[in-house]
């Protein structure tokens, strides 16, 4: 009881802080100088239409590399944590795991190609419209999740996914170094011609980086989902 009361008291105090923050907030009517610079300069410097992708992949590209490293670390640590004593686990699993019903199985057959195509579309359209590597990779991984839900017996080839993921990561860093040699700095996408803004092949190396990011994120999330499913 005392615990409950003190919890509610703490939450109320935090709520008071939040209330003051929300009450004192005035909506901005103009962009901050940094954002102003990004919005006006990104299309000119990089030829990218989607400013958010421009920031993620070009201006804060190193940060994105670190983020992908975090995902890689999580895939590794989840694998370590969920590594089972195989024999004892399998026995209990046999009774529990049944394939899903007719509706889910048929739905998977219809939806899976659509989901994967949409994921690929979102990945390669990151520099033109809403989308990008992370979002598209998550969509692809959701397709893998549907596959595992429909038939828990599905074995995702984790070894192949790891190879694909590592290749994508190595290529990402290699393109970063190419930027260092040929253009302004590490992960600078401007060593390829910027092209015409709004065209599919434009924005220098950003679509390539975005595609690599999508492949890497999709593979990593699929591995994580597969490890939970096992």
């Amino acid at each position: 009881m005392i615990y409950r009361a003190s919890v509610l008291f703490a939450v109320a105090l935090l709520g008071l802080i939040f209330l003051r923050l929300a009450g004192g907030y005035a909506e901005r009517s103009a962009l901050r100088p940094l954002a102003e610079h990004y919005v006006s300069q990104a299309p000119l410097e990089l030829g990218v239409s989607n400013i958010v992708t421009g920031i993620l992949i070009a201006y804060r590209g190193f940060d994105t590399l670190g983020e992908v490293a975090v995902l890689f670390m999580v895939a590794a640590s989840v694998g370590l944590l969920l590594r089972k004593e195989e024999a004892g686990r399998k026995y209990t699993e046999e009774g529990r795991r049944k394939p899903a019903g007719e509706i889910v199985t048929t739905g998977t057959q219809v939806l899976l190609p659509v989901i994967l195509t949409f994921g690929a579309y979102v990945i390669v359209n990151g520099h033109l419209s809403a989308g990008g590597g992370f979002q598209g990779g998550a969509i692809v991984a959701s397709g893998v999740m549907l596959l595992l839900l429909a038939d828990p017996g599905t074995r995702v080839n984790a070894a192949a996914l790891s190879v694909i993921e590592s290749l994508a990561g190595v290529s990402y860093v290699a393109i970063g170094i190419l930027g260092l040699v040929l253009a302004g700095g590490f992960l600078d996408p401007r060593f390829l011609p910027p092209g015409e803004a709004g065209a599919f092949i434009s924005a220098g190396a950003i679509p390539v980086l975005s595609a690599l990011l999508g492949i890497k994120v999709g593979a990593e999330l699929s591995v994580i989902i597969d490890r939970f499913g096992r």
């Binding site: 923050l21 929300a22 940094l34 920031i55 975090v70």
Partner: protein, 123 residues
């Protein structure tokens, strides 16, 4: 179009409210999975708050297309919070995945999700 409340205020209140619900969920529940859901809710609420602070009155998405010509950058919303939140969502996902893995591990050790069963980790 005029609204009584600015959009960003509605989003701020929603986000902070979600964060508070998440905190209540973390502190009041005894079930490990509910605690994880609470922490996920807390994070989602704060993501909404961060995105809301990037809103500029009358702004549109920071994508150069028919709705936003390259000559009028003032009409775009702030893209920096959006880019930050993409990062934050991924990190939130990562943290949730590790928490769930630990929960499964704890469950396989004690056959329960009740946090009261794990007393030896109390100080």
């Amino acid at each position: 179009m005029t609204t009584i409340l600015p959009v960003s205020s509605i989003l701020l209140v929603t986000g902070f409210g979600l964060a508070l619900i998440g905190l209540c969920c973390i502190l009041l529940h005894r079930h490990l999975l509910r605690i994880i859901i609470g922490s996920s809710l807390f994070g989602t609420g704060l993501h909404i708050v961060i995105v809301a602070t990037g809103y500029v009155t009358g702004g549109t998405a920071p994508i150069i297309d028919r709705a936003l010509g390259p000559a009028e950058p003032g009409r775009a919303i702030d893209p920096v919070p959006s880019a930050l939140v993409v990062t934050a969502i991924v990190i939130g996902f990562a943290v949730t995945a590790v928490m769930l893995a630990y929960a499964i591990r704890l469950h396989s050790a004690r056959k329960t999700f009740d946090i009261g069963a794990f007393t030896e980790s109390k100080w």
